[in-house]
Every structure is written in C-alpha cells, then in structure tokens.
C-alpha cells in the first residue's frame, strides 16, 4: 500500500512590481486550477486573505524587487521560511524597469516626482540574489507561462530544472523571423538595436515575431559575447548613450558593465 505523500506547500508573493507575472500565472486558467489541486497553496494574496504571517513553505515564488522596508523584512522572512526560493520575472531577477533610477541619481529623481520625496523609501534597486540566496529564477517581463509550469512540475518531482543557456537568435532563426539587426526600418536606416545575440533564449523570440527588437528582458545568458555584440551595435551607428538607455530598461546595464570590467 503506497503511502500518500503530503502535498508540497507553495507560496506566490509580490514585493514591488506590476504583478504581471502573478497575473500570468492566473492566466493559466484551468491549468492553474489543476496545479493548485496538486499542491497546498499556502500563500497567494490575490486569492486568499489569511492572517498575514509568512508560513513555512517548500517552494516560494517571489515577484518584484525590494523597495520598501517592509519588502526587505518580508523577503528575509520568506528566505527563512521556504526551502526553495524562485525569483519570478525580471523585477526579481534583474531589478525591473524601476532599476532605471539606479543609473540616474535616485535622490534627485524622486524630487522630480514627489515634493516630499525624502520621506519615502528610495533605495538602490538590487537583484534579489544580491539580498538573499535565490535557488531558481524564471526570467522575462512577463514570464513565459510554459516555463513556469515546466519549473514547478520539475521541482515537485524533485528534478533540478535549468534553462539551457543560448541566445534568442536560436529561436528567432528556427521560426524564420527577419533579423531586425540587418533590416533597415523607415525611421532608422541603421538597422534596429537588437540584443538578441546576447540574451537568454526561451521566450520563443516573441518580440521578434512582432518585429520588435529584443530589449533583453530575460537577461544575459552565460557565455554570451557581450563585448563583441556591443561593439557591433556601435559599428552600426548606435552611440554608447543610446545603448545604455536600452540596457537600462530591464536592469542589464550593471550586468554588462560587470562583464566588460572583468575582461579588462
């Protein structure tokens, strides 16, 4: 007689973000309802409202970055209470769009938006992994729902899930999309500033399907030839300033600077 194993305790938590990754999970619809039958969902504030104490968990998915002191307190609690911590999406993995402020004097920037800015929490935005230990990350802005399911079902079976490092170009070429680096657009004869060759694949090159250059929401993959590609973009006619502005959108600029400094 097989003993029934207890269901794994799962949590889905948001810090500071747009919550798009959590809504992506809800967008799984019936697949999501099936999933929560296989697990014990102990924390997910979009669906339940228990007294707010971080419970013990086997796997906790965390979306968002740390901005408020309360975010800081919660992420430390979560790390203590959960066996496995998964960074959900670009904000948790790389800082998110609000990391842009790190590169532009945040203490000045807040004064442009708020008169009483000095009373608000305005820290430098960090990757979650620079604050606590992160065991897995699902990249993207928003996440790829299929990737989320692959990860959670692998973890539930005790399988270590890793995203194979490879550029967006692989999926782009398999799907036969036009390479926008080489395409003259009516607004810009240089060709588009696509980061695809250095960005972690796994999104089906969805932006390229819409003829939009990859801006790197999934982060740089291990082994990417960052210096080569940035030089190529400069040779195409893009200034360092233009490249930096685009690198900032998904929090890549500091990672790129680290990689380039390491080389020299």
């Amino acid at each position: 007689m097989l003993k029934k194993l207890p269901k794994k305790k799962i949590g889905i938590v948001g810090l500071t973000s747009c919550e798009g990754c959590q809504f992506s999970i809800l967008d799984l619809g019936n697949k999501f309802l099936e999933l929560i039958k296989d697990v014990e969902l102990v924390q997910f504030r979009l669906l339940e409202e228990k007294v707010f104490v971080t419970p013990k968990m086997d796997i906790c998915f965390v979306e968002g970055s740390v901005v408020t002191k309360y975010n800081e307190k919660i992420i430390k609690e979560i790390r203590q209470q959960t066996k496995i911590l998964v960074a959900l999406g670009n904000c948790a993995s790389l800082g998110g769009i609000h990391r842009i402020k790190n590169y532009h004097q945040p203490q000045e920037m807040i004064k442009e938006v708020y008169v009483n800015g000095d009373k608000l929490d305005n820290p430098e935005i960090l990757d979650l992994k620079d604050i606590i230990q992160v065991d897995y990350a699902i990249p993207g802005c928003p996440i790829n729902k299929a990737e989320f399911l692959k990860l959670i079902y692998s973890l539930l079976k005790g399988i270590d899930f890793r995203i194979p490092p490879r550029p967006i170009c692989e999926e782009c070429q398999i799907k036969g999309y036009t390479c926008v680096l080489m395409k003259e657009s009516p607004m810009d004869s240089r060709g588009e500033m696509c980061f695809g060759p250095i960005i972690q694949g796994g999104c089906d090159a969805i932006c390229l399907k819409s003829e939009m250059p990859c801006q790197g929401c999934r982060g740089i993959y291990k082994g990417a030839q960052v210096e080569n590609h940035l030089r190529h973009l400069e040779n195409m006619g893009y200034t360092k300033e233009e490249i930096n502005h685009q690198l900032e959108i998904y929090g890549l600029r500091d990672d790129v600077e680290k990689i380039l400094n390491y080389k020299h």
Partner: protein
Amino acid sequence: MKIIINHLAKMEGHASFIGALEEGNIARAKIITEEGVRLVEGCLKGKSIFDAHVITMRICGICPIVHNLTAIKAMENALNIKVSAQTTALRKLMELGQLVHSHAMHLFFLSLPDFFNNNDTRLLIKKYPKEAQIAIRLREFGNAINEAVGGRAIHPLNNWIGGFKVIPSQKSIEELRSKIKTALDDAIMLAKFFAKLKYPKFERQTEYLSLSNEEEYAIYDGKIMTSNGFEYSPLKFYQKVREVEEEGVAAKRALWFDAHFMVGSLARVNNHGNQLNLEAKKIWQKIHGQKKVYNPFYNILAQTVEVVHCVEEIGKKIEDLKLKDENQKEYKILAGQGIAATEAPRGILIHYYEINQNGRIERTNIITPTVMFLGNLEDDLTAYLPATKPMSDDVRRQKIKALIRAYDPCISCATH
C-alpha cells in the same frame, strides 16, 4: 473604536485600511498605500519616445493595454500623427479585450468572496464551478483578442507610434469571431448571476467623471465629461485637475475643483449608459431604469454590464473588420508636448509627455484612475462606517473590505 485592516488582499497592489468610529457617528477612514515607489515618470527622462509605451505599460500587470494605448496616443498627439481607421479599430479591440479580461478577473476572483463574508476565492471556485468557468472563459477571450491583435496579452508588442507593425491574420480574426457567441452568452449569464446577489444599501452624492464621445460608449477617445454634462478636452482637464501629495505617502490623490470624484465603470455607466449596446443596456435598465446610481457597491454591477457591452462591441467590430497591409505613417520628430486620455478598466487614464527634437523624453506625468478615485473611496468609507456600528467586528471588517474592493483599486498604478 479603531479599525485597522492590514495588508488588504484580493486587490492589485499593497495597501491597508485605518479607520475610527466614535460617538455620534463621527468616523474617519484612510487607505494607506504600501506599494514601493518606482518613479516611472522619473525613469522616462532621456528615454526614446518609442520606449514610452514599453516602459509605462509595465506600471501595471492587469491593465498594461491601456498604458500602451495612452502612451502611444500621447506621442502621436505630440507629433501630430493621424492614424488610419484600421489602426484605430484594432486599438479599440485591444481596449475592449482588456476591459473584458480585467473585469472578469475582478468580478469573480477578487470581489465575489465579499458577497459571502468569505475570505478565500478557492472556496467559491468550488461552490460555483459553472460561474468560475464562465469567468475563466471570458478572461481567455479577452486575452485571445490581445494576443491576436497586440501580439501578447500582458505587455503587448504590435502597437507602435503611427500604427501596427504586425497586424492579425484573417485566420486569427475568424477564430475570434467563432468565440463571440459563447462569450456573449457567458457575459450575460455572469451579469445575471451578479444581479441576483445582495448588495449593501449605501448611497452618497458623488461627482462622476468619464470620457465622452458622440459616436459611441467612450472608452478609447473622447472629451472628459462631468456628472452635470460639462466637457473638457484632455489638455484642459489635465490643466485643471490637481494631484495632491501627502507627506510619506507614495500614491497621490486627485482633486477636481477642490473636490474628490469617482471614475470607473459606475461613472461611465452613469454618465452615458444610454450609449450601451443592446443586451448590456437591457440588463442595466432592468435593475436601475434610467436613474443615476449613487451606490458604490454597484460599481460591480456596472462592471458586469460593461463586460456584456464590450463583448457585443467586439462582435460588431470584428464583423466589419477587413484587414489590409498598410504602410507605416511618415512623420517628423519635433519638440513639443503630447497628451492623451483613455478609459482604463478602473477609470480615466492620462499620459502627458514633453519631448525634444531628438525624440527623447524630457518630462512625463501620468495620472491613473486609482489616484483619481482614492479620495472618493475614503469619503465613501467615512460615510459608510456609521452604518457598520451594529455589526460584529468580523462582519464590519468584511463590509469595509467589500467596499474597498468594489472600487477595484490598482495600487501599483496609483503609485507608479
């Protein structure tokens, strides 16, 4: 007595409630927003005008479409670009899909538990499996539209300054067309289900603001109208509305002629419900006739009626849709300012930009619907609290949460 409800759940974003109820029906109510500041308006400085919609739609994961549409319209306004009729039709489809998706989410998953003094949506999914499936199907219908037209449901990709880079295939339009009958039946069933529930009796004289358009129930384009019928262009509205900041509070509140006001489904239906599509109008008038409705709990009913209206509208738009490849609009990049107003699911959304001759953004100001109605919500809570005096502590807290959630606040949008 003091009433503190920490960490409101089943709501977009983080916030708490603090209230007090004293002798002689003296009450105070405050929503403390706890979402961290992201300074998106500051982050846009120096960025390309083509990145405005990319970044601003990431203000919110449940209403990214409206930020996408409004940012692009504002830039087109700055550069004096007139888009084609096809582009406008496709954008309206995106907006309609968003309304269906967002409302269906809010109605079943966030607000329904409040009718049963119940904290957990999962119990309601078990109790009403048929309605749960209706809500899921409607959300998938809304998403299908945005995937077909926008390229992705959360943070769309096809819409750009000047038009669409990629348009949906005729096949995907046919697929959408085949889903409309089920979607309409679902929307009507959901509306009838919510019409049978018991709503707290509470009314308060309120100023309702919404977009207004002679040709149709305004959600994408129009002037801004007030309860008594005055209309303002988006620019005039932007110049007259005031954003008020409180020390230590990340989300601002909006004032219109020094008073709070409401935006959202109830405001829209109150102001121009006579322009609703047939089935939607039938349902609304059956409940309320032709009168204006001042019960904020009925924002929920207004949302159900809008879902019906939107599905009918999507049906009409798809019926006439014959897509053809269009050339990108030609335009020059000039310095200037641009503004646009659209109706998000939760109410009027304004984007304002100042741009320079290099196509870079100098200044951004975004006023979201939750910023517009937070003050009014607090006024409603203050007026409603005395009615909760005879209730037990638990029921009182439930009713307070129910009123907050009836507004469908989006705290991430309010803070941005």
